[in-house]
Amino acid sequence: MAYSDKVLDHYSNPRNVGSMDKNSSEVGTGLVGAPECGDVMKLQIKVNPQTNIIEDAKFKTFGCGSAIASSSLATEWVKGKTVDEALQIKNTEIVKELSLPPVKIHCSVLAEDAIRAAIHDWKKKQDVAKPAAVAAQ
């Protein structure tokens, strides 16, 4: 199978590889996929509680080159966005940017899921941490 230059670039030089403290209240962690299916993505975001802006993002992925590229790209795209803006990222945009072939579309879906799961995890922490503040708004 031929890979696009962008997939090869992300595969060879993945951006934002690493891990953040998953217990921190500012960090949301999304872990999606399953080893039996050949794809697992962990995507983490660090959100500024004042601005809701994603200040940092890290990922680790077990999967094919397209899965690695999709999650690497996802970390680039969520950085600097607010969580609501990040929720607007669609898998089809990832497919387009990386020129993924039809058999690799599930990689982009997984990346979108990872973003959502990370944001969901962060939001859950906010609800637990400051229910009063939320109610006051």
Binding site: Y3, L8, Y11, S12, N13, P14, V17, G18, S19, M20, D21, S24, L31, V32, G33, A34, P35, E36, C37, G38, D39, V40, M41, K42, K46, D56, K58, K60, T61, F62, G63, C64, G65, A67, I68, V103, V109, L110, D113, A117
Partner: protein, 422 residues
């Protein structure tokens, strides 16, 4: 607190002295032709172009002479007589002819066929077709090491069993089945034993008499011969085996395989067998040495690496390894100057990981992480060293990227995790 992983960007690789890139290490898929084979074939394309079935002129005689010399060479390599060798277009045709031919010929005697789940698709899909035509097929499981359990085999046999088809050497994991014992069990019960010996012939000693083989498939391109030619051994004595033809026509090859003979291809197969006969003993030591060196270097550089299939009963040139926590296709991307195969679903058309590895009880996760290295006649020690270094470096790099490796190192039992699979 955030930990940045210094992922080593993939480096540009320069081949060390004596290594030409890309390195070919996929010799179970096919082998390059030996130049001595090509040399032997060349006259049969132009000057000796005659049809081997033309009996009344010298052009035909030259072709026939080439074919008969080849037949002697093939027979000699496997301990058969010349009349027992039928030339075909390759091992897939040989498997089809063996199984369909025996099934049809012995239909009145019974309709039961036994094979194993780790056979090549040429055998499995042929059996599936026969099932639609009223035959009953038992697909035997294999043990964790890839070997059939002879007791299972005995239990599977009944008075309607006409054929057992079990491969000699597996194309993915290189595991060698106990063919002599299987053949003995079949002989005692009057059941015909076919073995797909595509990966075995020319690599390990193959003797149809010592190993109680009745019908055997042979391919040229797995032993440094040309593609598109193979043979089927069909026993003539003790017992005499008969098969129905599946291709009708001019009655070539004793009526078992009609069609003008592929003379240059057959000459090439013959030469490949002659070379194997002379050089096999030395070559198998050489290949086992290279293979063990590759294993030692890879296992010395990485933890959590698992060999698939029996180590003891294995082709000398085969190494099939799973690299835990790393997905096979991404590994192949990282070693793209090395030609090998993966059991990963992502490299197959079906998106299913290797059915052979699954049959050994290998989890899907490890099946996705497997690489098959197939060493051959033209591989060198320098190539093995280069490949081992590249594999260790790439697996290490991908493990730094792998959430599974990180979780395992933190002591998380990955089997107990509830995965949010879609």
């Amino acid at each position: 607190m955030s930990t940045d992983v210094k992922t080593i960007p993939q480096a540009e690789h320069v081949a060390p002295d004596g290594v030409k890139l890309p390195v070919y290490m996929d010799n179970h898929a096919t082998t390059p032709m030996d130049p001595r084979v090509l040399e032997e074939m060349l006259p049969y394309f132009m000057e000796k172009f005659g049809n081997a079935a033309s009996r009344n002129h010298s052009f035909g005689w030259a072709g026939e002479e080439g074919v008969e010399t080849a037949r002697e060479r093939v027979a000699k390599l496997v301990g058969a007589t010349t009349k027992e060798i039928i030339f075909t277009s390759g091992a897939t045709e040989s498997d089809n002819l063996a199984i369909k031919g025996v099934a049809e010929m012995y239909r009145e005697k019974g309709n039961h066929i036994i094979t194993t789940v780790t056979e090549h698709k040429a055998v499995l899909d042929t059996c599936k077709r026969l099932e639609k035509n009223g035959y009953r097929v038992t697909y035997m499981p294999v043990q964790k090491d890839g070997l059939v359990d002879l007791e299972d085999l005995k239990r599977a046999m009944d008075d309607k069993t006409i054929l057992v088809s079990i491969m000699w050497a597996n194309n993915e994991i290189g595991v060698l089945q106990p063919v002599a014992e299987i053949g003995k069990l079949c002989r005692e019960r009057g059941i015909i034993f076919h073995t797909d010996a595509t990966q075995a012939v020319g690599k390990i000693p193959v003797d149809v008499n010592k190993n109680n083989i009745d019908v055997m498939s042979i391919s040229a391109h797995k032993m440094y011969g040309p593609k598109g030619v193979g043979a089927l051994y069909v026993r003539r004595k003790n017992p005499r085996v008969q098969i129905s033809a599946i291709i009708d026509g001019g009655g070539h090859e004793r009526g078992m395989r009609s069609g003008t003979l592929n003379v240059p291809g057959i000459v090439g197969l013959g030469k490949a067998c002659a070379i194997a006969f002379e050089e096999m003993a030395k070559e198998s030591c050489y290949l086992a040495g290279l293979r063990n060196r590759l294993r030692d270097k890879i296992m010395g550089g990485l933890d959590e690496v698992y060999i698939n299939g029996s180590w003891e009963h294995r082709l000398p040139g085969n190494l099939n390894i799973s690299f835990a926590y790393v997905e096979g296709e991404s590994l192949l991307m990282g070693i793209n100057d090395i030609a090998v195969s993966s059991g990963s679903a992502c490299t197959s058309a079906t998106l299913e990981p290797s059915y052979v590895l699954k049959a050994l009880g290998t989890g899907d996760d490890l099946a996705h992480s497997s690489i098959r290295f197939g060493l051959g006649r033209f591989n060198t020690e320098a190539e093995v060293d280069y490949v081992a270094d590249r594999v260790v470096e790439t697996v290490s790099r991908l493990r730094e990227l792998s959430p599974l490796y990180e979780m395992a190192k933190e002591g998380v039992d990955l089997k107990s995790v509830k995965w949010a699979a879609e």
